[in-house]
Symmetry: C2
Subunit: 252 residues, 2 copies
C-alpha cells in the first residue's frame, strides 16, 4: 500500500473545532485534499484512502468526506470507481475537461451579462493576431486536414443548425490547434466557446450559412498559402460580419 500516514502524516488526524475557521468541514477537507494533490503528495493515478478511512482520519462522518470529494470531482481532480480495487483516484485533468470548465465559466459570465458579446468579439480580434501568425508558421498538413474536415462538414446543407454550429466550433478550434501551443489552445478555446451564442443566433435568425462558409474557405486558403496578413484580414471580416448581424438581430 502506498499510504504511510504514520510516518508522513499528510493530514491532521483531527479538525480543531475551536479554531476560528467557520467554513464547513467538507470545504476544509476538500482544500486539504486539494493541497495534498497539487503539492504532489498524491500523484496522478494514485488512489486516495477509502472514504471510511478518510472519515476516520479526519474524525468526521462519511457524508462529510463525500461532500468534500464531490467538490474535488466537480473540479475534475478526482474520479471514483466502485468495487475492490476501486476508490477515489487522482485523475490527469485533460485539456478537454479543463477547457470545458473554462468555457463553462465563460458562458456563465455571458449568460449573466457580466461579459457582453461586443466585448468578446473584440477580445477575439485583440488576441488572434499573434495566434494566426503562429498558425501560419506551424500548421502541419494534419492540422490543415482537420480544418478542412470541419469546413466540409459545414458545407453539407443537410445538417441541422446545431450541427453546423458544432462544426463551426470545430473549425475554429482546429485553426487554433495549428498554432501548436497548449497554453494558447487552452485560452483560445475559452474565447471560441464564448462566441457560440453569437454564431448560434446568427445561424438560426439570419439563416444564412453561405457567408460564413465563404469566409472560412477564404481563411483556409490563406492558411495554406501561409499568408498571415490575409488570414488575419479574413478573420476580421468574419468578426465584422458577426458583429454586424448580431447588432442587427439584437436591436429588434
Amino acid at each position: 500500500m502506498s499510504f504511510k500516514v504514520q510516518t508522513t502524516p499528510f493530514l491532521k488526524t483531527n479538525i480543531d473545532k475551536s479554531s476560528i475557521v467557520k467554513s464547513s468541514i467538507s470545504k476544509q477537507i476538500a482544500e486539504q485534499l486539494r493541497d495534498a494533490i497539487v503539492s504532489g503528495r498524491f500523484k496522478i493515478g494514485d488512489r486516495l484512502p477509502t472514504e471510511d478511512e478518510l472519515a476516520q482520519r479526519y474524525g468526521v462522518s462519511r457524508p462529510s468526506v463525500r461532500e468534500a470529494l464531490k467538490r474535488l470531482a466537480a473540479q475534475n481532480l478526482v474520479r471514483a470507481r466502485r468495487g475492490p480495487s476501486g476508490g477515489n483516484f487522482v485523475v490527469q485533468p485533460s485539456y478537454e475537461e479543463l477547457a470545458g470548465s473554462l468555457s463553462g465559466a465563460a458562458t456563465l459570465l455571458v449568460g449573466m451579462g457580466a461579459l457582453d458579446i461586443v466585448e468578446i468579439i473584440d477580445a477575439r480580434r485583440i488576441l488572434q493576431g499573434g495566434c494566426l501568425e503562429h498558425a501560419v508558421k506551424n500548421a502541419t498538413t494534419a492540422h490543415i486536414a482537420d480544418i478542412k474536415t470541419a469546413l466540409e462538414r459545414q458545407k453539407n446543407p443537410e445538417i441541422s443548425d446545431e450541427v453546423f454550429c458544432q462544426a463551426d466550433v470545430a473549425f475554429h478550434r482546429a485553426l487554433v490547434d495549428s498554432a501548436d501551443n497548449g497554453m494558447v489552445r487552452f485560452v483560445m478555446y475559452t474565447v471560441i466557446e464564448a462566441l457560440i451564442p453569437v454564431t448560434n443566433m446568427i445561424v438560426t435568425v439570419v439563416r444564412e450559412r453561405s457567408d460564413i462558409i465563404r469566409l472560412h474557405e477564404e481563411m483556409l486558403q490563406h492558411l495554406i498559402d501561409r499568408n498571415a496578413t490575409l488570414l488575419n484580414q479574413s478573420m476580421n471580416k468574419l468578426l465584422d460580419y458577426l458583429l454586424e448581424k448580431f447588432e442587427l438581430a439584437s436591436q429588434r
Copy 2:
C-alpha cells in the same frame, strides 16, 4: 414564494433509473441545476428550493442533493446560508473567483507537467501583441496609477520574496486591465497566473530583483508614452529574461 413548479416544471419530478445514464445521481442533479441557473431559470441572488424540497422533487435523498449542491459550490455557482431566510443562493461569480479557479486549473496543469513553462512563456508572447496595443490606446490615468502602485511596491527592498511576486502579478494584471476588455482580462489573468511559478523560481533562486524592476519601469514609461512597439519590445525582453533564467535554473 417564487417557485411555481406546478405551472413551470423546471425539473423532472423523478430520475428515470432504468435509463442508460450511468453517472451518479448527484452529478445528474448538479447538471440539471446548473442548466437551470445558466439558462436563467434561477437568477443571481435567487434562493433555490430547500434541500428537503429538492430531494422530494427529484425523488432522491437529501445527502444526494447536498452532494450535488457541493459540486455547484465548488464552481462558485451557489452559496449556502443557514437559518430561516437561509438556503442555497445563486451567486454572482466574480472575476476574481473565476479567474482564481481558472488559474487554479492552470497551475494544476503546470504542476502536473501537462503544460510546460516554455510553452507558457511563448503563449504570453503570442497573445500579448494586440493586448498591449489596446493597452496603449485605452489606458487611463487610473490604470497607469495602478500599475505604478504595483511597481512601487516591488521597488521596496524590505518586502519578502512572496510579496514581491504578488506585486509582480499585480503589475501584470494592472497592465492587462488597461486594455479595458473584460474578456481579455479574464483570459490573460490565466496566463499571468500560470507564469507565477517561473517568477517565483527566479526571485528565490536567481535572487535578482533589479532586472525585473528595470524592465517593468521601461514598460511603464512606454505605456505612458503610448508607444506600443517599444512596449511590446520591453515585454519581450522581460520574457527573454525569464526564459533564460528559467532554463539556467532548471538545467542544474
